[in-house]
């Protein structure tokens, strides 16, 4: 039987992720594809904890912990250091949360992308600062509750469109992906691995703790995010060539996605309708690009 996802396990059990953590699933797939000839750098985020305390590690590849806003440039520095020593084949991967990517780290990412440094930047997006206890980020969707956007002042404003920002740098490869579609995710990781230059992969990674959802629904929610079009799955090559990877024939209503999550529970009907309209409008814009 031909396997679509490599059998090898590089990440080990015994890590510190919560039950149902989408981010830990994402790392497992990423390491299956990138393999042992890889170096990871991780800024402050849940994954800085998930890997385990000193002197333990769960990832089985060299991992350099770094400051919150520096993942991209840390990877650039690591890549340059390996290069000058002749270690040119090693994959260098920056692995960061949405806060470290959309917010505080955006300057360093933009710099590394503009220089087209040969690294893969992967953001696991759980749509808030989870490590510090669920505060809003610019990846938090409109309407969501977080501890800094309490129910009375829930998050107003659209989620930042990071993949478009990255593709505007005309980087060779930018993609969105989901832990609910591991084959698609692995294909993208494989593609990124084989492209020279700056690669950006945005993975939606549900967080039961922050989304107030049942850990058993992590994959279901990641799938519903795609099926409702709130998180479409596609790739952009060289900033221009758009490919839709998961076609959604009949999108599901957003309520299907919201109903399994406590963070949207407070939303009134009109607000949900507003969100539905924005999703449909965004989708129309996107479809024209394929």
């Amino acid at each position: 039987m031909k396997l679509t996802i490599p059998e090898r396990e590089i990440m080990q059990p015994g890590h510190l992720a919560c039950q149902g953590c989408g981010a830990s699933m994402a790392m497992r797939y990423a390491l299956k594809i990138f393999g042992r000839d890889s170096v990871l750098t991780i800024p402050a985020c849940c994954w800085a904890v998930i890997d385990g305390p000193f002197p333990y590690t769960a990832v089985n590849v060299p991992l350099f912990h770094t400051a919150f806003e520096t993942a991209a440039v840390m990877a650039s520095g690591i890549k340059a250091g390996l290069d000058v020593q002749g270690e040119k084949s090693t994959n260098v991967i920056a692995w960061a949360g949405d806060g470290g990517t959309f917010d505080i780290g955006i300057q360093a990412i933009s710099g590394a992308a503009e220089r087209n440094d040969d690294i893969t930047y992967i953001v696991y997006d759980n749509e808030a600062y989870m490590n510090t206890g669920i505060q809003r980020s610019s990846a938090t969707p409109h309407g969501a509750w977080t501890t800094t956007t309490p129910i009375k002042h829930y998050k107003i404003g659209a989620k930042k469109n990071m993949v478009e920002i990255m593709s505007a740098h005309r980087i060779p490869y930018a993609a969105t992906a989901s832990v609910a579609y591991p084959e698609d995710l692995c294909k993208k990781l494989e593609k990124a691995k084989n492209i020279r230059g700056f690669k950006f992969i945005h993975i939606l990674a549900p967080c039961p703790t922050g989304w107030k959802s049942d850990p058993k629904y992590t994959v279901k929610l990641a799938k519903l995010a795609v099926q409702t079009n709130i998180f479409p799955i596609y790739e952009i090559e060289n900033g221009l060539k758009y490919t839709q990877n998961k076609k959604v024939k009949q999108r599901k209503p957003i309520t299907e996605y919201f109903k399994y999550q406590g963070r949207f529970k407070h939303l009134k009907k009109e607000e949900v309708e507003f969100i539905q309209k924005s999703i449909d409008r965004e989708n129309e814009i996107l479809l024209k690009k394929f």
Binding site: R36, D37, S38, V39, T41, A48, V49, D51, G52, P53, F54, P55, Y56, T57, V59, N60, V61, P62, L63, F64, H65, T66, A67, E69, T70, V73, M74, A75, S76, G77, I78, K79, A80, G81, L82, D83, V84, Q85, E87, T90, Q107, A108, S110, G111, E114, R115, D117
Partner: protein
């Protein structure tokens, strides 16, 4: 080979002679000429290095950290606002025990915007765990860069080499460039025991509980203590090659002095001239230049000042709310060990020129004064 060059270019050539492998830097006046020259040196193939043209100083230091963690020799240079922006990563470099050597051209912090000499920028980084040198000549800049890699790579601590804006950065001096074959004999390639190595996967800098963190600091402190001896030892090795010796402090005519100036940077060089003139007038003065402030050369200082009856510290910096930083440190060193009184003087803040006459005035004032003063703000217009 002797060459005429500005202080900034002495830093560039120091990096070139040290065969740095990764450079990451961002321009800022008055440092800019260092990285422009290095860009040329790399582009002309005179140095086999990767130059990452980063988008900020924070990223410059981060890239150096990443490169150094793989075992590459890394270099950056900055000034004032740039150094302040790096601050978080200076701690990171030191706690990650990475032997990065960097240059800082001492420039006043804004606002108001100033590009002129002032030590507050680098002294604000005093407690990052970096070794910290104040160079006082272009030759010192070039030689310190080479020697610092040798020391840093043994104690696994980064080094910050600072020198005064314009008085050094843009002033031409004759610099003797050692042949690279000599430097190669002195400075072997960097080959750390622990690095990012796919054949030996480890995590660096992970979550650390109170069970371990204290011990990291203990080890850093030991490394700093070791550095005192190593700076001297490698200084002597370097002297064998070049005839030039660099110590943590340099004392000039201190042995029989009644009054000793304690100085740093270019003010130290001016003070040597003032000492000669004052001696001609029969005044027994000496000058103790503090070249290295971290590790703090307490024993060397105590030895150098032990016979004098008064000390006058000249600070081109201020810790507002207290006083000059070299004066604070010196008084801390003397306490419990000696009762020589200390006069603290502020001079040259924000690039104001400090002339031989100013130093002679300080000597007169200190000789006349009966009671030591924490801080006398020389020349302040009020």
């Amino acid at each position: 080979m002797k060459k005429t060059m500005i202080g900034n270019h002495a830093a560039s050539w120091g990096a070139q002679l040290s065969r740095v492998q990764v450079i990451a830097a961002y321009p800022i006046t008055p440092q800019t000429l260092i990285v422009e020259k290095l860009s040329e040196i790399v582009a002309d193939g005179e140095l086999d290095a990767k130059f990452i043209k980063v988008e900020s100083e924070h990223s410059a230091m981060s890239a150096c950290i990443g490169a150094s963690a793989t075992g590459a020799r890394a270099y950056t240079a900055t000034s004032a606002q740039g150094l302040a922006l790096m601050h978080e990563m200076l701690h990171w470099a030191a706690l990650a025990r990475l032997p990065i050597v960097m240059t800082n051209v001492n420039r006043a912090m804004a606002p108001g915007w100033s590009i002129w000499a002032d030590q507050n920028d680098s002294l604000s980084q005093r407690d990052t765990g970096m070794m910290h040198i104040f160079a006082s000549s272009s030759q010192d800049i070039l030689d310190s860069t080479i020697i610092s890699y040798k020391v840093s790579e043994q104690v696994l601590l980064p080094t910050l080499i600072s020198f005064d804006a314009f008085f050094l950065s843009h002033t031409m001096e004759v610099v003797d460039m050692p042949p690279i074959t000599d430097v190669d004999k002195f400075l072997p390639p960097y080959n750390p025991e622990y690095k990012l190595d796919v054949n030996n996967p480890r995590s660096f800098g992970a979550l650390t509980s109170e069970e371990h963190y204290y011990e990291f600091r203990y080890k850093m402190q030991n490394a700093m203590d070791d550095a005192v001896g190593l700076i001297k030892k490698e200084g002597r090795e370097f002297e064998k090659l070049t005839g030039r010796y660099y110590d943590l402090v340099h004392s000039y005519k201190c042995e029989d002095a009644d009054l000793i100036f304690v100085t740093s940077g270019t003010i130290a060089e001016t003070t040597n001239v003032a000492v000669d003139e004052l001696r001609k007038d029969g005044k027994k003065v000496g000058n103790l230049k503090i070249r290295v402030i971290r590790p703090y050369p307490k024993q060397d200082i105590l030895k150098a000042v032990k016979n004098c009856s008064k000390i006058a510290v000249i600070d081109r910096n201020i810790s507002c709310g207290y006083h000059g930083i070299f004066a604070q440190e010196l008084k801390g060193a003397l306490y419990n060990e000696s009762d020589i009184p200390v006069w603290g003087y502020l001079a040259g803040i924000g690039g104001r020129d400090v002339k031989v006459d100013d130093i002679k005035e300080i000597a007169d004032e200190t000789f006349k004064s009966k009671k030591p003063v924490d801080m006398i703000m020389k020349g302040v217009k009020i």
